[in-house]
């Protein structure tokens, strides 16, 4: 499923919305999550998961091919931790039977 399919599906479930509205909504959801992460903010979506931004310190690395030393600058990386409900559903443990895993 791509973002376009997701927009189509939202549009199908809310027939009174225009396709354009559905597009704006889906884009706004992800845009707002991106800007929160840019601010270094943690995002928590109940039943889905959480996103955090982790800091990686600058380090000396090696080019694995040539063995030459390269300096890798400090960077921020996004990290996702799946929420409990979704973790169980993906593993085929269903929505209802909580507290089994």
């Amino acid at each position: 499923m791509t973002k376009r399919d997701l927009i189509d599906e939202v549009n199908k479930r809310f027939p009174h919305l225009s396709r354009r509205d559905a597009e704006v909504i889906v884009n706004s959801i992800f845009d707002s999550m991106v800007s929160a992460m840019e601010q270094g903010e943690r995002i928590e979506i109940r039943g889905f998961g959480s996103f955090v931004v982790k800091h990686r310190r600058a380090r000396e690395g090696r080019n694995p091919k040539s063995g030459a030393m390269v300096s890798v600058s400090a960077k921020r990386v996004p990290f996702f931790k799946v929420g409990k409900e979704l973790r169980l559903r993906v593993d085929g443990k269903g929505v209802g039977d909580k507290e089994t895993g």
């Binding site: 499923m1 973002k3 993906v90």
Partner: protein, 96 residues
């Protein structure tokens, strides 16, 4: 940021009622979850891909007792961030 903050953004932007914005945001996440539950990957351009991977069963040990146990095969969800997202996170603070 929580789902409530996302909902506020939506109704400010689209001019929906709070109720309507809540329904649409909930539905959007539910659609994604449904898709992943069926093992299908979800690709959001500019954000990242959510992919379901199958883990084979393997032998492990209980680190506390040292007992050997079988870790059952299972399906796990991984998120691979888009390079655009990674770039955006690093364009705010200048790199050395």
């Amino acid at each position: 940021m929580t789902k409530a903050d996302i909902i506020v953004r939506i109704y400010e932007k689209v001019g929906f009622s709070k109720k309507e914005a809540t329904d649409v945001v909930e539905a959007t996440f539910e659609i994604i979850k449904n898709c992943l539950e069926h093992g299908e990957k979800v690709k959001i351009s500019g954000f990242g891909n959510f992919v379901v991977n199958s883990k084979r069963p393997r032998r492990g040990r209980n680190p506390q007792t040292g007992d050997e146990i079988i870790i059952v095969g299972r399906k796990v969800l991984t998120f691979k961030p888009s390079h655009i997202l990674k770039k955006n996170l690093n364009s705010v603070s200048p790199s050395t």
